[in-house]
């Protein structure tokens, strides 16, 4: 049975429980302390540590027989003074950091009871360091020192404890295990009231800490390579390495273990080491040393060598060296178990490797790094920034020390601005949870208080919009050397192109490109771009419905940014501000795009969208970016006077759908609402007239404006689930977009007006207002009703009546689609609709099952679900703008 597995006696358990209970009470009481209370305690502790630095160093040396008393005293001072200098102004209680612009605040929460293992190599300095950190963070600590350093550590704990309690720290805040065993450690590591294990020491202690299942800071062994590159200041390099490797007889685990030297400077470097008191071992001496100070069975250093000076080691091994030899340098030809001295050696023996190139040197350093030193420390001496960069990229070490001693450099605060520490995190490479220099922030749980942030909104429209009859005359204002008109055959036959040509200044070279009257594909776009390049166009006029204008938008995009990949730019996104694929901002031709709409529905003349057919993938893709928005929109009703009735009806309902969906969108704002509501009002008033009396100029004009105004609304607030349903259904059954929208519209109003099964998360929405906004629209239309529910029903009925007036089929069944065919298609329809990005701004997040039900409602037609909402709700006086 392992020692740690043997059962503890009842007395021992009672003793350990007493320690935990005391620490737990102290930690609990400590939570009441303010930052000022804590800081009042820390300073006298630091002073006490400084005053006793030499005393504790002497105790440590006498007890452990490791290292140098003088260096241990220096370490004790660094552990107090330098650490204090770092922590004194740090906030570690209550609010510790604030980020007003992010509306985030960080608040400290103590851990409670920390179980801390301290090493034999740096015993008292580690205790002093951890005591200061614990008080600064309001934690209690139970120390378990290395058995061979118990007396000095318990004395360090006593000194810190007395100073702390004298200035107000809770009794019991520090305790030290007496004559402990591995069983004790195991018991405490698994204790439910221990919040964190902070294990500084050998691999066994670290592994035990991480194996306990408790949160742990386990920082342990290293194997530091140091590369002396040919451009280095060799005198500085040799002195620094000597300082570092002999500091406390090499007991700091960050000290250099293998020096890799460029061939060109190898002999000079070794000579300089010799000049400073190093002994260069012969091959025989190196082999003897390797066999003696490294355990051949395990590959680890022999404990008896740890912290001994060079002459003692040489004497023990049987190597003759000069008196006062500081360092033993042992040339090796490789790294790994077959080269024992390439392992970690916490004593002044340094392996030396001669590298014939930078590449070989870096590889040797990587080998050392991976031979027990992952995540710990590495050192480089060089003035070649490229070599330093490469070194830092290939070496996995939490501390990459440049042109300074490894051991003291890694401690931080002396040779560099790293955080002072006596615990080196080694990252996952070293099996550690952190790669940092462990500091006060590792002794805290940091809570984030995140206040609600409202997303920034926008309202973007084309620079110029010209509207009303003969607005096309405004083309005369735009000078151009070369203009290309993009249109389709029917519009040319109807004479619309001639009207446009007459309005273009005579000095402009005008060419016309006729494209098919269908959504553009890549080929159409490429042909257009070819023409634009051929004519060196500085102005593009898109004359047509949505597909022509969309084609022109894409042609302009490719004309200005030839490298733009349309398929890539069509990549989906959730939030336009965070989209992964960015549209190009550089433009090569700076051409102007003027869009003249010839239908009153899509509003493409003002939108940032363009729909394209991807023939390779057999689907339609939508490109969306405000850079696609035309520079100028002309909304001239003369171009829509001859629209056939069916097209008038379908495009008019498309316009109404845009307005209603933008009105209840989660992206709606007061800016978009004004447009959405006005468009709804115009459609209900003028669409029936335009339908019945196509030559009524006022009705045509107002419907043309309504389409543009609704498009302004949905360009900024987006659409909703109606469009998702219509896209899926229209594509599957070849039904026009406007008609497909019409089939869904009354059902979607009722759906959005009822209590959502799921809401769409959006910080700008403070409450669910879709039903109230529908009610507000009903009020503006003068539909009557007293409660919100009644008004919503009135709006649904008015929409139904409008559809009836326009002769639009009122159900999918009316289109002649059989129930069987429809039901067969339904799973796919729901899937495609759910994949459609349009619904993401819908106030209700549709479940797939709800999409199915909406499709079925649309198939049946008029039998509408009733809005589910308390009918006594007050009407629209409440705030409805989100």
């Amino acid at each position: 049975m392992n020692e740690k597995d043997a059962p503890l006696s009842e007395e021992r358990i009672a003793y350990l429980e007493g320690l935990v209970s005391q620490a737990r009470a102290a930690a609990a009481v400590f939570t009441q302390f303010s930052q000022e209370d804590v800081d009042r305690i820390v300073k006298p502790m630091v002073v006490a540590g400084l005053e006793q630095a030499q005393y504790l160093a002497r105790l440590a040396f006498e007890e452990t027989k490791i290292g140098l008393m003088e260096d241990k005293a220096l370490k004790n001072m660094v552990a107090t003074e330098f650490v204090y200098n770092y922590v004194k102004d740090k906030r570690t209680v209550g609010v510790i950091r604030e980020y007003p612009e992010r509306r985030l605040v960080e608040v400290a929460e103590p851990i409670g009871v920390i179980f801390s293992l301290t090493p034999i190599t740096n015993p008292t300095s580690t205790v002093l360091f951890k005591c200061i950190m614990a008080i600064k963070t309001r934690n209690a600590v139970i120390f378990s020192p290395h058995p061979s350093a118990w007396r000095c550590c318990s004395e360090a704990v006593r000194i810190m404890y007395e100073a702390a309690v004298k200035y107000g720290a809770p009794e019991g805040v520090f305790t030290c295990l007496e004559s402990h065993t591995l069983q004790d450690n195991a018991y405490l590591m698994h204790h439910k009231d221990v919040g964190l294990i902070d294990a500084t020491g050998g691999p066994g202690a670290v592994k035990a800490a991480y194996s306990s299942g408790k949160p742990a800071l386990g920082v342990g062994a290293g194997n530091t390579p140091v590369y002396v590159e040919k451009t280095a200041d060799l005198d500085m390099a040799v002195m620094d390495i000597t300082i570092s490797k002999t500091f406390d007889n090499g007991t700091i685990c960050a000290s250099e273990q293998t020096v890799v030297i460029d061939d060109q400077v190898y002999d000079r470097v070794l000579k300089k080491f010799e000049d400073l008191g190093a002994h260069i071992c012969s091959q025989e001496e190196t082999e003897l040393l390797g066999r003696t100070v490294i355990d051949p069975a395990t590959g680890y250093m022999q404990p008896m060598a740890v912290g001994q000076n060079a002459t003692n080691i040489a004497r023990f091994v049987g190597i003759k060296v000069k008196p006062k030899t500081k360092l033993l340098l042992a040339p090796i030809q490789g790294v790994g178990r077959e080269y024992p001295l390439s392992a970690e050696k916490l004593f002044p023996v340094l392996a030396v490797y001669r590298a014939k190139s930078v590449d070989e040197a870096l590889k040797a350093c990587v080998d050392v790094n991976h031979f027990g030193g992952l995540g710990h420390t590495a050192v480089i001496f060089s003035i070649n920034e490229e070599v330093i960069r490469k070194f830092s990229e290939v070496i996995n070490a939490g501390r990459i020390i440049v042109n300074s001693p490894g051991s003291i450099g890694a401690l931080g605060g002396v040779y560099n601005d790293m955080v002072p520490t006596f615990s080196f995190g080694c990252g996952t490479g070293g099996g550690n949870s952190t790669m940092d220099n462990v500091n006060v922030f590792h002794y805290l749980n940091i809570k984030r208080v995140a206040r609600r942030t409202e997303a920034h909104m926008w309202f973007r429209v084309p620079n110029q919009i010209y509207f009303n009859m003969n607005a096309v005359e405004n083309l005369r204002k735009f000078t151009s050397r070369s203009t290309l008109i993009i249109t389709n055959p029917s519009l040319e036959q109807m004479g619309h192109v001639d009207i446009v040509r007459r309005c273009i200044p005579p000095e402009t070279q005008v060419r016309v490109s006729i494209i098919p009257d269908a959504e553009p594909d890549r080929k159409i776009v490429e042909q257009g771009v070819e023409a634009l390049n051929f004519y060196k166009a500085d102005q593009i006029i898109a004359l047509g419905g949505g597909s022509v204008i969309d084609a022109a938008k894409l042609m302009k995009l490719k004309y200005e940014s030839p490298e733009a990949d349309l398929a890539e730019l069509a990549a989906p996104f959730l939030d336009i501000r965070k989209r992964v694929v960015q549209y190009p901002t550089e433009k090569v031709n700076h051409a102007r795009l003027i869009a003249i709409s010839t239908t009153s529905g899509t509003g493409s003349e003002v939108t940032p969208f363009a729909v394209m057919t991807d023939k390779e993938r057999n689907l339609k893709v939508t490109l969306a970016d405000y850079s696609l928005t035309p520079d100028v929109a002309i909304v001239d009703p003369q171009f829509v006077m001859s629209m056939p009735k069916g097209l008038t009806a379908d495009t008019g309902i498309d316009c109404l759908t845009h307005a209603l969906e933008a009105g209840v969108s989660v992206l709606a704002s007061a800016y978009t609402d004004s447009n959405a509501v006005q468009a709804v009002r115009l459609v209900f008033k003028y669409l029936p007239i335009a339908f019945e009396h196509p030559q009524d100029e006022e009705a045509r004009s107002m419907m043309h404006n309504a389409a543009c105004i609704a498009a302004i609304a949905f360009s900024n607030a987006a659409v909703g689930v109606n469009h998702a349903l219509a896209h899926a259904f229209g594509a599957r059954f070849g039904v026009s977009h406007g008609r497909a929208n019409a089939l869904m519209l009354p059902h979607v109003i009722a759906y959005n007006a009822s209590v959502p099964t799921k809401f769409v998360p959006n910080p700008n929405q403070r409450s669910y207002v879709a039903h109230k906004k529908y009610a507000m629209m009903a009020d503006l239309l003068g539909l009557g009703g007293h409660t919100v529910d009644e008004k919503v029903k009135k709006l649904v009925s008015a929409t139904e009546q409008l559809l009836d007036q326009l002769g639009i089929p009122r159900s999918i069944a009316d289109l002649g689609i059989s129930k069987e065919e429809f039901e067969r298609a339904l799973p796919d329809l729901a899937k495609v609709a759910f994949d459609d990005p349009s619904w993401r701004s819908n106030p209700r997040m549709p479940l797939v099952s709800e999409l199915v039900e909406l499709f079925r409602s649309a198939y049946r037609g008029r039998s509408l679900p009733q809005p589910v909402r308390a009918s006594q709700e007050p009407t629209v006086e409440e705030k409805v703008y989100v």
Partner: protein
């Protein structure tokens, strides 16, 4: 638990938490059902007060007396929570 009649009340001064708790504990024998300790004047407790509260809770349990803490601030409440004492007392605002 005994039926409450007239509860014993102890107002605790922030400066004399431990003696008052000790006094309360000593009187648990004579208490009829419940003892009310008024903490509204206490802003912070120290480890000795905490120990005394553990003792008080233990004794109250033995004697089946309900101890009600009145006016405990949230900081002290959290201390009691951390040492699992909240379930051993009743609290009044």
């Amino acid at each position: 638990m005994k039926t409450a009649t007239i509860p014993a009340r102890f107002a605790i001064d922030g400066g004399s938490v431990v003696p008052t708790l000790q006094e309360a504990r000593a009187k648990l024998d004579g208490a009829e059902g419940e003892v009310v300790l008024d903490f509204s004047g206490v802003h912070r407790i120290d480890p000795s007060a905490l120990r005394e509260m553990e003792e008080l809770a233990r004794t109250a349990h033995e004697k089946a007396v309900k101890v009600v803490l009145r006016g405990v601030n949230v900081e002290i409440y959290k201390v009691l929570k951390l040492v699992s004492l909240t379930q051993r007392f009743a609290f009044l605002a």
